[in-house]
Symmetry: C2
Subunit: 453 residues, 2 copies
């Protein structure tokens, strides 16, 4: 169970579907393996009713690519079903091709060629699963997160969904949420690995811990089991002493009004925040705000959590909420836990190829894309066009090429954007959507995509 | 980007929410950290309309627990926000308590105490996120997978969803699917790490690779770009030569009838299988079966894939399908990507504790559970009762205790079930459900749970 970059075992080569390697074996045997190919990643559609998607995971794809090598341990596994020549070929595997893609944090729409991988069939085909796993996961989370950030109206957003997703997906979810505009995460591995700011409050367990037995308060006065308020006061006092006055106290273990009174009694009106994790959060937030203000705690923030999604966040917009803590709905993509992107062979030795079976047609040929915008910055159209041809006419709009170089000759290009750069890119992208693009209701993609021939 | 057990860096200690460690700091400071506690894991409800859940991930929790230690790298991260005494305490951290739980593969219902973690507050509280992440993910996948296995009526099931989930969640998904009755996986890391049988067919890319340029066939006769059938024949010939006659050919890149004819022409009637990945799979399966039989390929299997979920699988039950390949819906829990289990403090120094805020009440006290069955094996009831009290009356039914020892004094007990044992346990559990429990339609939990006082 390893979780870290570093000096340990680091191969990503088995995060792969078996069929990629059996196709490789057949292609090596018939000599088609060395044909020059382009594979493109795109989503046929957005999740139901979504108006845009956010490309996320590109940086992680590049990291994973660097570790896509077959050591002895990996070779031993694939040798069980592959011919010896294929195993030997994999022993020397390093991706040597080129990759272009939408910048991490770019918005995307149905058919947007978000990644273009070029090289021999052999070196490209084996990357399918790894590339898709990363982009599909991270883009699903970032796309949901961006809607939540829009809905929050600029309030502070904390990602706290680690417990509702795979333990090793959790740091990636936190990264994707931060990319999309969240301010902080509860996940410590995301803090360590990606530098996402950490945050946290307290759990009901901490208050309950102080029930049932005698408690020595900070003032040395013993309190005994009995009224809930006493346990709560002991827990709050302990938390404030250990973590300082800026901490956030969880006030809904028992009665909330009593909890708020106790919190301010213990901490004073300079208390950093109180958290509400249950009940009608809108009604409660107003009551608690009034109560806090009445107690002189006018700066004490109200943190709300508990089954929040973008709709619940939007519904609380008129309420005196300062911070949203979002868990389950974020890490599960708010109903769309995967972005549904595919990795398709579109060109072989310069010739476009495409399958033609029903309902899953794809467009052949290596593509590029431009996004056209008004002077105001508002996007009006995305045009996907053959890479071999000229850029389409911009008709007086600003035209921006969407595919940027990511890998050349197997090596990541220099000066790739940081996570912070990509976060700015998302924020800028959301501002540039037509106004209806930020509506939470189900609708069509916010920007029409044209496929030029 | 590490993915393996082994000699490398292996700490799971940062797969944790920050608040667990700040609560720890406060509890160490006020001396409540050493109180004896029980934390229980349970689901308040099943996902909408589900009739049962499958406990999965228990084995992975025990592995992760062994690696829950703070090395210098982990300590450096937590030292940024924790007092020095807490950091020192974490340096020596090893879980020394006891864990009981439902056996991996056991069915569960709302309120089932699927894991019971006992020890000091300090040593238990820090495990919350890691335990929940694993159980919530794996149980969600296994619960969806079990419904698909039931719906398949005993046909072969291949998990192929890696590309639609986080790259490191994929092997765990494959493990959970296998646990629940799937036969094989496409994911090579799951093959390596968990011994799940591997499987795979071929992608459209392999056929398309053979389009557009001259192809040297196995017989030395060059074929040139032109008709689809020629490319397809070249691709099929290559695959059969490399992988043998038992391989499965993907016949829907172009025209399916033509594809099937080409497949048998190239491979002969002993061909292992053909795969259909698009279109109306029921209609196509019948047509293709007739065509194959007419060509003498009566043993050639029909593999279907493409957006299958339990409902689509059930709808194909009357059709001549031999193998189902399931991807997206499996790894996303078929609409329920997390099991929604929680980790709650229920007892402190022998005294039951419970929060009482609205809508999220929990039941205090350490619990056990028995399941009552008829002589026929059919479950009639689950009874959750106080661990301190006597087992409830079984009223003439067979009574089976559901919580089994998993960890004693911090060490896993001996003779823990293997993945194969747990797989048998699921199969047995599904047989023991009342008949309506296997219905796919939305309904109530198949077994009533009684909470005895």
């Amino acid at each position: 169970m390893d979780i870290r970059d570093g000096d340990g075992v680091t191969s990503t080569a088995l995060l792969t579907d078996q069929y990629e390697l059996t196709m490789l074996a057949a292609a090596l045997a018939d000599d088609s393996a060395h044909r020059r190919c382009t594979f493109e990643v795109f989503a046929r559609r957005l999740p139901h009713g979504r108006r845009y998607g956010v490309v996320a995971g590109t940086g992680r794809v590049l990291d994973a690519l660097e570790h896509f090598q077959f050591g002895e341990a990996e070779l031993a596994v694939v040798a069980r079903f592959l011919p010896a020549e294929t195993v030997e070929w994999l022993r020397d595997y390093r991706f040597t091709g080129d990759i272009d893609g939408y910048a991490e944090g770019e918005l995307y729409f149905p058919g947007s060629p978000v990644l273009s991988v070029r090289g021999s069939f052999a070196e490209c085909v084996v990357l399918e699963t790894l590339v898709l796993s990363i982009l599909n996961h991270d883009s699903a989370i970032a796309s949901a997160a961006a809607r939540m950030v829009s809905a929050s109206g600029g309030r502070r957003m904390i990602e706290m969904g680690s417990r509702r997703t795979h333990e090793l997906a959790a740091p990636s979810s936190a990264r994707a949420a931060y990319l999309a505009g969240f301010d902080a995460t509860s996940n410590l591995e995301a803090v360590r690995r990606y530098g996402v700011p950490g945050a946290g409050t307290s759990a009901h367990a901490f208050t309950l811990l102080h029930a049932g037995t005698a408690v020595g308060g900070a003032d040395g006065v013993g309190e005994h089991s009995g009224a809930d308020g006493e346990h709560e006061a002991a827990a709050f006092r302990s938390q404030v002493e250990a973590l300082g006055i800026g901490t956030t106290l969880l006030v809904d273990t028992y009665d909330i009004t009593r909890g708020v009174a106790t919190a301010i009694e213990v901490a004073g009106p300079e208390l950093g925040g109180v958290r509400l994790d249950s009940g009608d959060l809108g009604v409660l937030a107003r009551q608690v705000r009034d109560q806090l203000d009445g107690l002189g705690a006018t700066k004490t923030r109200i943190v709300v959590s508990g089954d929040l999604d973008e709709y619940a966040i939007a519904a609380l917009r008129a309420e005196p909420v300062d911070v949203y803590g979002v868990g389950t709905s974020l890490v599960t993509g708010s109903g769309a836990p995967t972005a549904g992107m595919v990795y398709k062979l579109v060109e072989v030795d310069g010739v476009p190829v495409a399958k033609r079976s029903s309902h899953k047609e794809s467009r052949g040929g290596t593509k590029k894309a431009v996004r056209l915008s008004r002077d105001t910055g508002t996007i009006v159209e995305e045009i996907v066009y053959p890479a071999a041809g000229p850029a389409p006419a911009s008709n007086g709009y600003e035209a921006r090429e969407l595919l940027v170089p990511l890998v050349r000759g197997g090596k990541p290009v220099e000066d790739l954007p940081t996570l912070s750069d990509s976060r700015d890119h998302v924020a800028h992208g959301l501002i540039s959507l037509p106004w209806e693009g930020l509506k939470l209701s189900a609708g069509e993609p916010a920007v029409p995509t044209t496929f030029a021939n």
